[in-house]
């Protein structure tokens, strides 16, 4: 039989046997979406990209909270009763087909008047008529075509976000003035001395003065503020010489045109600021679809179902949950508060709270913690604590989340700038004193010239352009950094700390190991057939892992809840389940999950489940061990200790049973001993450690989904290149140092003109842009060469 892929989503559809319109689908969900699209003449969707869709999920009851007017009010951007506008985040948006279908929503439902996609942010802004279509139905419509919006507690304060565009305005003003001043100063460059040019000289100069005013007083604002702040905290940062240069340039030029001494340096002044701001803009690379500031709010649902005292279901806002409320938690829903289980069977996945990979079963009366995900049907719970007071959310009250990491360290530019500024001031003073003795008329000229030419334009540009380019290169290789200062921090790292579950192990993947007596052909076949009938997660994964065998129809099958399964076929009996169930003495020594087997009342052996580690883990650790201290800090039990010791270099430290606070304290302790710590984690349980470490990297199987607050997000597929990424950051620092050398050479040439009193506007106008452009060109070329070295 040929291999078929689903026409809609591209998954394997060989076995499904679902065809419609001569097209194969993997499931009825995909077929339904195709039907919807073809009925509305939207099949263009499939012309733009092959298999662009996602399988729609079952969402019954999931969006009931969107009936609560208080929640609706908070989500809407605009509402006048009939027309409503909402912006929804849709993680599945990934190709041009997605944009096309989402912008043609009006064909699916006439109540929608407009929808605009922002591909970078993966959002769609929908304008719809609320009298014909409720917000809930809109969300259900989107979900049914495979574009399920993600609504979390974070969205609760939507519409109040302010976008800061001031840098673009400042850049625009500087560029505008730069261009015009350049035009106006052209006649002066050539000094043709024609009659009419001479006549209009003052007018031209005053016009240039007028153009430079907004540049100095608006565009340059940030440099003055930063220099003032630096001086007040007794720090000579890079902005001090820049601000000094700007002030001197402006004052000297103004005086020159007032007394008709020359044309001034307005061209250099505006050009300088234009390039500086351009550098700033370039460094501000942001990943619109990623967020580095997430806390528990991004994971938590915005609404939950409350069961009122009359037994009715009612959607309420999560913040409105009070102690004593009765809540209904549906399958796959997150538990938002600490509570007690009242009704139903709970199987809770705490993996992103504790890092524990195994799901836990709870009985009625057991306590459930916030952050767990219910995996088996619906449960009813009684609330013990409100959202903010729950166990998980309390982690965020730790002081470490209030600190701004980037302020805490001195970056490379500022370190160099300190010596640079002192040096320049010294040269200026010495040169001025010399000229005071030799020719006092030139003294002031020389003093200002030195400060103008030494204005560290190239120096200030080296770091932003290098970092900006490195951010882009790493982003292309799926390592997304929060900002440029992370690169510097990364270059200083000497200790690497890894979380276990989800970080060095692949999520949801296990390997299985059988030890015991060899099973016969018949027994294996019987085992597989038995497992087939069970819905227990362990049975499902074991069934998937076993090789294909003939499936037989069992004569008798019985599932004992929480214990195991018993089955008969012909004269053979098989028991699969816990050690006690199959009649084997419990071995308390193993902490790993295991499934025991006995056939015809004879104990056969057990299947032990192990975590599957990421590819290249061993190799990565062996490469890294040369330069760094390596630590594994796991919230899980010691079950994997033996396995890990075999896999990793001997000097790797292994620590288990670490609570989120323990991880944070461990890092704090090592930092107090002078270590520069890199923490790599994935779950909310690592959030504290990620915030405390010098560089916190969140690893993510799908970068569009969630990762805790961090400095960088690493795509899981690139995990084995971690060493290369750290090397890249070290190269970035080297490149910056080289470009400092380059800019010093330019400065020395300029200083020669300045000290000898020969600095004319033309020399300044040539030298300053030339040095800036060559430094920018150098860093760009150098970073690209280094970027190509990373074999990804």
């Amino acid at each position: 039989m040929d291999k078929h892929t689903c026409f809609h989503c591209g998954l394997d559809a060989t076995a499904s046997k679902i065809t419609f319109d001569d097209k194969v689908f993997c499931c009825n969900g995909c077929k339904t979406v195709y039907e919807i699209f073809s009925a509305n003449d939207l099949t263009c969707y499939y012309d733009l990209q092959q298999a662009p869709g996602a399988t729609p999920k079952d969402i019954e009851g999931k969006y009931n909270f969107l009936e609560n007017t208080k929640i609706i009010e908070q989500l809407l951007e605009f509402n006048d009763g009939s027309t409503q506008i909402v912006t929804l985040y849709i993680p599945h948006v990934h190709c041009s087909s997605c944009i096309w279908i989402l912008e043609n929503l009006n064909k699916l439902n006439p109540a929608i008047s407009a929808s605009i996609v922002n591909f970078g942010k993966k959002t769609v802004r929908v304008t719809f008529n609320a009298e014909m279509l409720s917000l809930k139905n809109l969300v259900v419509l989107l979900s049914s075509i495979g574009y399920e919006p993600f609504i979390s507690l974070d969205d609760y304060s939507v519409g109040k976000k302010h976008i800061d565009r001031s840098l673009i305005y400042k850049l625009g003003v500087a560029g505008f003035a730069f261009g015009n001043v350049m035009f106006l100063s052209f006649p002066e460059y050539f000094q043709v001395g024609e009659f009419w040019l001479e006549q209009f000289k003052p007018f031209f100069r005053w016009l240039m003065f007028a153009f430079s005013l907004p540049v100095v007083f608006y565009s340059a604002q940030d440099y003055f503020v930063s220099a003032y702040k630096g001086l007040r905290s007794r720090l000579l940062n890079i902005d001090v010489p820049i601000a000094l240069g700007i002030i001197v340039l402006f004052t000297r030029s103004t005086i020159e045109i007032i007394f008709d001494l020359g044309s001034g340096f307005f061209d250099s002044l505006t050009g300088l600021l234009f390039f500086l701001l351009l550098g700033k803009f370039f460094q501000q690379k942001t990943y619109a679809f990623l967020s580095f500031e997430r806390d528990y709010k991004s994971y938590f649902p915005i609404g939950i179902t409350k069961i009122t005292s009359e037994g009715k279901e009612e959607a309420i806002q999560v913040y409105d949950i009070v102690k004593g409320d009765r809540l209904l938690i549906r399958n796959e829903e997150l538990i938002p508060v600490d509570c007690i289980l009242i009704k139903g069977r709970a199987r809770i996945d705490y993996s992103f709270v504790t890092g524990e990979s195994r799901t836990v079963s709870k009985q009625s009366g057991d306590k459930l913690f916030a952050g767990g995900k219910q995996l088996e049907g619906s449960i009813e719970v009684d609330v013990l604590k409100s959202v903010e007071q729950s166990y998980l959310t309390q982690l965020w009250s730790n002081d470490v989340f209030k600190k701004d990491k980037s302020l805490a360290f001195n970056n490379i530019t500022n370190t160099i700038s300190k010596n640079f500024t002192i040096g320049i001031l010294l040269i200026a003073v010495v040169a001025t004193t010399f000229w005071l003795v030799v020719d006092s008329s030139k003294a002031i000229n020389v003093f200002t010239s030195v400060l103008i030419i030494a204005c560290p334009c190239a120096l200030a540009l080296a770091a932003p352009f290098t970092f900006g380019n490195v951010l882009r290169i790493l982003g292309n290789k799926k390592f997304y950094l929060k900002n440029a200062s992370v690169i510097e921090q990364l270059a200083k790292i000497d200790t690497l700390i890894f979380d276990k579950t989800g970080t060095i192990t692949a999520h949801k993947e296990t390997t299985v190991n059988y030890d015991g007596l060899q099973l016969s052909e018949d027994e294996t076949s019987l085992l597989k057939s038995t497992l087939r009938g069970s819905n227990h997660p362990l049975s499902r994964s074991l069934y998937a892992l076993l090789d294909a065998h003939d499936i037989v129809t069992l004569d008798d099958f019985e599932e004992h809840l929480g214990k195991g399964i018993q089955a008969n076929y012909k004269n053979n009996t098989i028991k699969v389940g816990s050690a006690a169930f199959v009649g084997h003495a419990t071995d308390a020594a193993t902490l790993n999950t295991a499934v025991h087997i006995s056939a015809n009342n004879q104990y056969k052996g057990k299947f032990t489940f192990y975590n599957a580690y990421r590819k290249g883990l061993s190799h990565l650790f062996n490469v890294l061990k040369k330069d760094y201290d390596l630590v594994i800090l796991s919230g899980d039990n010691e079950g994997e200790k033996e396995n890990l010791t075999k896999l990793l270099p001997t000097k790797t430290k292994l620590l288990f049973n670490q609570k989120p606070e323990d991880k944070l304290e461990y890092i704090k302790y090592h930092q107090s001993e002078g270590a520069h710590v890199l923490m790599i984690g994935d779950g909310l349980n690592d959030a504290g450690a990620l915030a405390q470490s010098n560089v916190g990297i969140a690893i993510s199987e799908n970068v569009n989904v969630f990762s805790p607050a961090c400095d960088a997000i690493l795509d899981a597929s690139k995990f084995n290149h971690l060493g290369d990424f750290i090397n890249m950051s070290k190269w970035a620092l080297k490149i910056i140092k080289w470009s400092f050398v380059l800019s010093f050479i330019y400065n020395s040439i300029g200083l020669y003109f300045a000290v000898t009193g020969q600095l004319s506007p033309v020399v300044a106008a040539i030298l300053m842009p030339l040095s800036s452009i060559s430094v920018v060109a150098f860093t760009t070329v150098a970073t690209n060469i280094v970027g190509r070295k990373i074999p990804i």
Partner: protein, 63 residues
């Protein structure tokens, strides 16, 4: 020679008009999303194509 004043006034005015256009464009958020419009631009043809059968459908409904 006062024609130069007129010329300068015109050139500066034109420059300022474009500058204001830029500021307005930024303010309206035209630079917030620099990717989607580049894709959207290419959809024009397909949109025209799908509109035709749509009309027939609505007519059928009316009948």
């Amino acid at each position: 020679m006062s024609v130069i004043y007129i010329l300068l006034a015109v050139s500066v005015t034109v420059a300022i008009v474009f500058f204001i256009a830029f500021i307005v464009a930024v303010k309206r958020g035209q630079y917030d999303d620099s990717y989607t419009p580049s894709v959207r631009m290419l959809f024009e043809d397909e949109l025209v194509k799908v509109k035709k059968p749509k009309k027939i459908n609505t007519n059928q409904l009316k009948d």
